[in-house]
């Protein structure tokens, strides 16, 4: 290992199934809008990657309000996947997004396997898109509403269909609401995913005692934020130990130490979600903090720490 002086800039580059990132820090889908919303508050070009809000085939109005509620060290959301639809996304958002230096990944979602395939097809040749992330937490309307993300064969099918229509790096985003996350990861790996990202939100609920009504109009919603970090880290650790494709860690990441924990557990990159809301420049702080960490640890490259958590008696 090379010795690192305080002046050496550590190497933060990582590669995710063909996607080359200047650093491992990306923004999570649905928590960074279409990036433009944050452009006054941080330098977007410093980000390792940007993942935009989930896009469906048709525009979706989303759920009725209230859609969000704060919980202990977390929040529940039931946005209902409000988005402008793939065609307006390409026409209205991509012009601006294509000018960004950071790789852009588009998160996609559908109610049927065919929908996923069709969205991917339409995005495939669009200038400025570096990869796709498949959100499989959505219910499959044709299969009685069971989420694609809870049945390995269904997740594999979606992956295969998307794989068929695009050469873009393909990330499949896993839902944590399953008994066996490793099984899910292996299924999509086998179906051609270039990487997996995890976790999406945990399903949760909150009730207002006084009015006796659910705090979300949708009754249930997705739990995110620091509260879920331990669950996310455990799943990343389990999956990274079981698949060969790169893993992207997501869930409650709020500072550089959090991000490092995920890399040590085996993630090649990370995504920051809820933290963007309360600290818009948190991603930049994390990138800076990762550099400091590497210097302190006497490492020259972030790649050298991936999966190096010391679980044995080796010390």
């Amino acid at each position: 290992m090379d010795t690192v002086t305080a002046n050496t800039r550590p190497d933060l580059r990582v590669s995710i199934g063909g996607l080359e990132l200047a650093n491992p820090v990306m923004t999570a889908s649905g928590t960074f809008g279409y990036a433009q919303e944050f452009s006054n508050l941080l330098d977007l070009d410093q980000l390792g990657g940007i993942i935009v809000k989930g896009i469906s085939l048709e525009p979706r109005p989303g759920n009725p309000p209230p859609r969000i509620v704060e919980t202990a060290c977390g929040m529940l959301n039931a946005i209902g996947l409000e988005n402008v639809g793939v065609d307006r996304f390409i026409k209205e958002k991509m012009v601006w997004l294509a000018k960004l230096a950071s790789p852009l990944v588009v998160n996609i979602l559908g109610d049927s396997v065919e929908e996923y395939g069709e969205i991917a097809r339409r995005l495939d040749q669009v200038e400025g898109i570096s990869g796709l992330e498949i959100n499989i937490s959505c219910p499959n309307v044709k299969k009685g509403g069971v989420a694609f993300g809870t049945v390995p064969t269904m997740a594999a099918e979606v992956t295969k269909v998307v794989r068929r229509v695009t050469e873009l790096p393909l990330i499949v985003k896993l839902s944590p609401n399953v008994t066996n996350i490793v099984e899910m990861a292996k299924a999509v790996e086998g179906a051609g995913a270039d990487a997996v990202s995890l976790i999406n939100t945990l399903i949760g609920m909150a009730i207002d005692a006084k009015s006796r009504r659910p705090k979300l109009a949708n009754i249930i919603g997705g739990l995110s934020g620091p509260a879920i970090k331990p669950v996310a880290l455990r799943m990343v650790y389990q999956v990274a130990g079981s698949v060969k494709i790169p893993v992207i860690g997501i869930g409650g990441i709020s500072c550089a130490d959090d991000a490092v924990e995920f890399l040590l557990a085996g993630a090649t990159a990370i995504q920051v979600g809820t933290a963007n809301f309360y600290e818009p420049a948190v991603t930049i702080q994390i990138i800076q903090g990762m550099e400091d960490y590497l210097r302190q640890q006497g490492e020259t490259s972030i790649r050298d720490i991936i999966g190096t958590v010391r679980t044995g008696a080796e010390v």
Partner: protein, 280 residues
């Protein structure tokens, strides 16, 4: 400052609006003064040069509470006053929960992490103006009133304020009177002014041919909007919802608009009443 918006900005795609009209800043703002009234109403004045320079009445800031993860989300507060000479803005709020309690406990050597100015504030409509405020909804109207007072004679305008009782309302009356306005008041318990609700005061000012600006509890605003639509008066309302980002990114701050959902943090918080879906 307080620019007159000529084009109907709601025809423009909301996200390009950002680039046109707004630039928000994240500022670490030293607290200049913090005062707490008998009725648990707190006023914090902070140095915030960038925000003070660009803020318009009706806009808001997102305030970080504490340094930990509980509470996690920033809290939205309207800009109550803006002093461009001294580069300061003031927030006025009631202690209603954990976040406001923590803010109330701050001291003048502490600082506040703010993002702002955010959202779309009031737009200048036909004069005269009639400001109708209830409870803490009066907070943003003071900034609006200051701008009005700076432009035109205060005699032209109407200020109608309501609250639960004298204790809550009196400090506001002093503030607005200080700007030179005659203030009409209503209290739930009759301890100051009209015994009843503030929308009742609208009856006394008709015939009126100007613009109504209102902020307050939802039922109160509904009443105001009902009267305005009966009288065919243009009305601007300032809405509140739960917000996670304040930036138009989380899509959490939805309310039902005339056609489809609107996002309060970006397309509002101030809306022409006609753009919002009411259950009148």
């Amino acid at each position: 400052m307080f620019s007159v918006v000529k084009t109907d900005i709601r025809q423009i795609e909301p996200y390009s609006l950002v680039a046109f009209f707004m630039s928000e800043f994240q500022e670490n703002c030293p607290i200049e003064t913090i005062t707490r009234s008998a009725s648990d109403v707190v006023c914090i004045t902070v140095l915030a040069s960038q925000i003070a320079r660009t803020a318009c009445p009706g806009q808001f800031v997102m305030v970080r509470v504490g340094n930990g993860y509980d509470p996690l989300l920033r809290r939205p507060f309207s800009i109550h006053a803006c002093d461009q000479k001294n580069n300061s803005i003031s927030l006025l709020f009631k202690v209603v929960g954990q976040g406001t309690a923590m803010l109330a406990a701050l001291a003048p050597d502490d600082s506040l992490d703010l993002i702002g100015p955010l959202g779309k504030g009031f737009s200048f409509g036909n004069t005269p103006a009639c400001l109708v405020g209830g409870g803490m909804g009066i907070a943003p109207l003071y900034f609006l009133a200051s701008e009005l007072a700076a432009r035109e004679s205060t005699n032209d305008h109407h200020i109608l304020l309501g609250a639960r009782n004298r204790e809550e309302l009196a400090p506001f009356v002093d503030q607005f009177s200080g700007l030179g306005f005659a203030v009409q008041t209503a209290t739930d318990d009759g301890s100051l002014g009209h015994h009843g609700f503030v929308p009742d005061l609208l009856d006394a000012i008709t015939p009126f041919a100007g613009t109504i600006y209102t902020c307050g509890p939802h039922p109160m605003m509904e009443n105001v909007v009902r009267k305005c639509s009966q009288l065919s008066l243009p009305c601007q309302v300032s809405l509140e919802t739960h917000m996670a980002c304040g930036l138009g990114a989380c899509l959490g701050c939805t309310v039902a608009g005339k056609d489809g959902y609107v996002h309060v943090c970006k397309q509002g918080p101030v809306f022409p009443a006609s753009e919002v879906k009411w259950t009148l």
